[in-house]
């Protein structure tokens, strides 16, 4: 093939970015090697490792800035800019381009890891060598995802964000040296990502993911050093910070879904959501086990296992969402970039770290490393062939890990006492892990299908399926959370007082629940128990806070637990009492099930509909560049509230609505949610206007047409600049059309400037009327007269089909999650101070 010299491409910036990727990869690799070789806390190997990690961090920022420049400078010769941005993208959303694509979101993770690594260099002290070696190793694997280097045409390592459009796509236009002239604009950022929450949710979530490596790295290092207790103190603030940030990231995602997605809720148990929930549940379980280990020296294996699996599950989540294995089961997984093999290697590699770390003696370690490395390297090429031996080896390795660790722990914790706090905390941690396992097993169905060639399908009602399992688990966890704080570590001396505290708080909670059941009108017994659990957690922890906590910095756990209680209440009341106000209850009630599923209602433009406590009308559309916003007007029956919601839709060239977004009105005690589910297609053939007549009108005139009565209510003077015409004076005719009960507006225009005059007609299709307006010199030489031209056609009703839902007390949920985040924040601060002292 002939080489083509392309015109107008900026190749330098991409080459620079690629150079930074290679530099980041190599410096991280050597940093890890030097840190591994460092035998003492202060030695030259450690210094070199530090310098290399510094270089790595600079290179990572280099990649980030280069990619940002490519997006900001609209270099559409690069596939990343072409696919994820466009000329009209506002600056504040340019950062969102990073997480629309896989490469960019890997980069975000790499940036956070680099920042965490730098903080650890300054704070980890004697743990620095091990911890940094692991962080640097993770950076090697992550940066390799951005490499995009092809080996012998058979294997591509990574996917580069700096790939040129012409290399990525094969289209005839790239035969022209001048092709860039035709690539004038990018295909743009998904409108769903052009949202405030989508600017802050992904970086928060990725910081949460990144933070889980720190406790993991401390755990692995302590397995090497065989210091099974000392690692807890420095790792705990990191774990708590991870719990806080990851939790905040998850709930921001929920809030975004509630505000912008059309399923009518904040949590859909989508695989991508689950993939971030699993590590969080495990991390919370791990934090509690770390606390047990720290105070009583028990639960060593459990604490290690949970902290390690948290990070492994972050990697597994990455595999799930980015390998394409989820396929059709998720609505927002990334597209497959051919990284599946590499992602599997990533997971397996880090599963083997603890197994190798616990093994004593270099020879034994090599016996493990060599066969595992060979199988891991073969994984992308001979997946079927190497998968089963690798699975068997890994299971054996995990058994080896538990047995060896068990042998190393000489000091088994004292006999468990059921009046000791740690016993109940341990059970609570197991319940959290059980909850994570349930979500994991449910979400992994597509993986199971891939491995074993089965054809299991996801459950019909995914939300009901997960709720069925998670609700009882949540109730047990809540009861444990309510009582455990009243126990003392090891054993509670005053058992009478303990029983009194537990029973009195329970009694008051039962009374509050009775009140709540009456207030919210809850009848399902399961919901009543759920409500009691939520109130009990809240009230018992509030009592503990008031009775025993004397210092603000010790209040973290109580506040976080209270937040969890509120969250349960919010979940319960908002979903149990949510009211679909567009439900059609008029029809045949023979089959209640069929009837109850009819949740959509037709709203004809201009007509009022009584929906729940509101009188609702569809009053028109407003059109922006990409979307149509439907104006839906609500007036409450006592007229105390009046507002307009703007749910919107995106349309294809044929005028079909391809996706739609809701709009929600928030009040303190409830939200009103509205979502358009159908909009009729525009008329297929052009409209025929007939019976055109001119009428000379004065203000107050009415004209009777077959399609309704037309009232001419006056003329308004306007400036042409408002519709993009300079030096033009406009006259706007104000017209009202009365059709039965419906009143419609029309505003045809007449314009004059120094050269010409013109009129702009207006069609009111739902009335089947077209209006033209003109001001003309009168025939008898008097004052100019207003002339209204009216044409008729068959009226075409304009309508939308929509769904409206009232969510009561959803603010409990948001308030609860905010309290949890604050609680985690206070606990992190407390543990940081304890670590320093």
């Amino acid at each position: 093939m002939k080489e083509i010299t392309y015109v107008g491409e900026n190749l330098f910036i991409g080459n620079l970015g690629h150079f930074f990727v290679v530099l980041a990869l190599i410096s991280a690799l050597f940093s890890a090697l030097f840190y591994v070789r460092a035998k003492e806390e202060k030695c030259s190997e450690r210094t070199i490792g530090r310098i290399l990690f510094g270089i790595h961090t600079i290179a990572v920022f280099g990649i980030f800035i280069t990619l940002f420049k490519i997006i900001q400078g609209h270099y559409f010769e690069y596939a990343y800019a072409y696919e994820h941005s466009s000329l009209d993208l506002p600056l504040r959303y340019m950062i969102s381009c990073f997480w629309e694509g896989q490469e960019g979101s890997f980069l975000l993770w790499i940036v956070w890891n680099a920042i965490l690594g730098v903080i650890l260099v300054f704070t980890a002290k004697k743990w620095e060598r091990g911890v940094l070696a692991i962080v640097a190793l993770c950076q090697v694997v992550l940066t390799a995802m951005l490499l995009g280097v092809n080996f012998f045409d058979i294997y591509t390592l990574g996917s580069s964000p700096f790939e040129l459009l012409r290399d990525k796509m094969h289209a005839p236009i790239f035969e022209s040296a001048n092709y860039l002239k035709n690539v004038v604009d990018g295909s743009g950022l998904n409108p769903l990502l052009q949202n405030y929450w989508m600017v802050i949710h992904p970086p928060t979530l990725f910081l949460g993911f990144a933070l889980t490596i720190v406790p993991f790295a401390f755990a692995i290092t302590s397995l090497f050093y065989k210091e099974h207790r000392a690692w807890i103190k420095p790792a705990l603030p990191w774990a708590l910070a991870g719990g806080m940030i990851l939790g905040a990231g998850i709930i921001m995602g929920g809030f975004w879904a509630y505000e912008s997605l059309s399923f009518g809720g904040y949590w859909a148990w989508d695989p991508v959501e689950n993939a971030s929930l699993i590590p969080w549940l495990l991390l919370i379980s791990g934090i509690h086990l770390m606390l047990i280990k720290k105070v009583t020296n028990g639960s060593t294996i459990a604490a290690y296992t949970l902290v390690i699996s948290t990070f492994i599950m972050v990697l597994y989540a990455t595999f799930l969402t980015r390998s394409g294995v989820l396929g059709e089961t998720s609505v927002h997984a990334f597209t497959d970039l051919g990284l599946a093999g590499q992602l599997m290697q990533f997971v397996v590699l880090f599963i083997w770290l603890p197994i190798i770390a616990v093994t004593e003696g270099a020879a034994k370690r090599w016996y493990m490393i060599i066969p595992v490395s060979i199988l891991v390297l073969l994984l992308p090429f001979y997946t079927k062939l190497s998968f089963y031996p690798l699975l068997a080896l890994t299971l054996a390795g995990l058994a080896w890990f538990v047995l060896n660790l068990n042998k190393q722990i000489k000091n088994h914790a004292s006999e468990d006492n059921i009046t000791g706090r740690e016993f109940w905390m341990f059970i609570g941690s197991l319940m959290l892990a059980l909850s994570a396992v349930q979500v994991l097993v449910g979400t992994s169905k597509p993986v199971f299908n891939k491995i074993f060639g089965t054809n299991l399908v996801p459950p019909e009602d995914v939300i009901a399926y997960y709720n069925m399992y998670q609700m009882p688990i949540a109730i047990v966890i809540a009861l444990l959370m309510a009582v455990t704080q009243f126990f003392r570590y090891r054993s509670t001396p005053d058992k009478y007082k303990l029983a009194k505290e537990i029973l009195i708080t329970l009694g008051i909670s039962v009374l509050l629940t009775v009140g709540g059941v009456y207030l919210f009108g809850i009848s399902n017994p399961m919901y009543v128990i759920f409500m009691l659990a939520g109130i009990y957690v809240f009230f018992a922890n509030l009592s503990y806070l008031v009775l025993y906590v004397r210092k603000l910095k010790l209040s973290g756990s109580s506040i976080a637990h209270m937040g969890f209680g509120l969250m349960l209440l919010g979940v319960l009341v908002s979903s149990a009492k949510k009211q679909v106000i567009t439900r059609d209850m008029t029809g045949n009630m023979r089959n209640f099930d069929e009837q109850s599923r009819k949740e959509n209602m037709l709203l004809v433009k201009g007509e009022e509909n009584q929906l729940g406590d509101y009188s609702v009308s569809y009053i028109g559309d407003s059109v922006s560049i990409n979307d149509v916003y439907f104006k839906v007007h609500y007036i409450s029956s006592d007229s105390s509230e009046e507002f307009t919601l703007y749910p919107n839709g995106q349309f294809d060239d044929a005028g079909r609505m391809t996706s739609s977004n809701p709009d929600t009105r928030h009040y303190l005690t409830y939200d009103v949610y509205t979502h358009v589910t159908y909009k009729p297609l525009p008329p297929s053939d052009s409209v025929k206007w007939e019976n055109v007549k001119e009428h000379i009108v004065v203000q107050g005139d009415s004209i009777i047409t077959p399609n309704g009565v037309v009232y001419f209510t006056g003329i308004e003077k306007g400036d042409g600049a408002s519709i993009g015409l300079k030096n033009t004076t406009l006259a706007k005719a104000l017209i009202k059309i009365k059709r039965g009960d419906v009143i419609l507006d029309a505003e045809p225009l007449f314009g004059i400037n120094s050269q010409t005059f013109f009129s702009i007609r207006q069609d009111v299709l739902e009335a089947g009327l077209r209006f033209g307006f003109e001001i003309r010199a009168s025939e008898d030489g008097g004052d100019p007269v207003a002339v209204l031209e009216i044409a008729e056609t068959k009226p075409q009703p304009q309508y939308i089909v929509m769904k409206g839902i009232v969510f009561p007390y959803i603010n409990f949920l948001w308030l609860g999650t905010v309290m949890m985040v604050i609680g985690f924040g206070i606990a992190t601060w407390n543990r940081l101070e304890l670590k320093r002292s």
Binding site: K445, D584, T677
Partner: protein, 134 residues
């Protein structure tokens, strides 16, 4: 260690029981014949949209009634009735996944998931380039 071990065993057996029930008893894709033999049970059916048979959705009459015809893996064709509004690019779908139950000679779907053929990026870029030329 005793109480802890008991709790551990209980939780472990719950987890294993759950995993078994998930992967053993899980529904696999079925056909209209399966559903018609057990009209009280919910089935998951994947099939091809029959494009030459009528698709009915008239929101003015009933915004919660949408019907179309689907051909299952055995080649059986049934009318499917859903109470969700029609997705407006439904015609583009080739395969359709759905859950529901048989009701006489029709299938009442509670959830309909159309699968659109993937849009090819190359096609898209050609179209855009043509648009920018004209």
């Amino acid at each position: 260690m005793k109480p802890k071990v008991i709790v551990l065993l209980v939780i472990l057996s719950v987890a294993i029981g759950y995993i078994m029930s998930t992967y053993m008893g899980a529904t696999e894709s079925s056909t209209f014949a399966d559903a018609e033999n057990h009209p009280d049970d919910t089935y998951h059916i994947t099939g091809f949209l029959v494009k030459d048979k009528p698709m009915e959705y008239d929101p003015i009459k009933d915004p919660n009634y949408f019907s179309f015809y689907l051909k299952d893996d055995d080649g059986a064709i049934r009318k499917v009735i859903s109470s969700d509004p029609k997705q407006q690019d439904f015609e583009r779908a080739e395969k359709v996944n759905m859950y529901g139950h048989a009701d006489g000679d029709v299938f009442r779907a509670t959830k309909v998931i159309p699968k659109c053929p993937s849009k090819y990026k190359d096609e898209q870029i050609n179209k855009e380039v043509q648009a920018s030329r004209s």
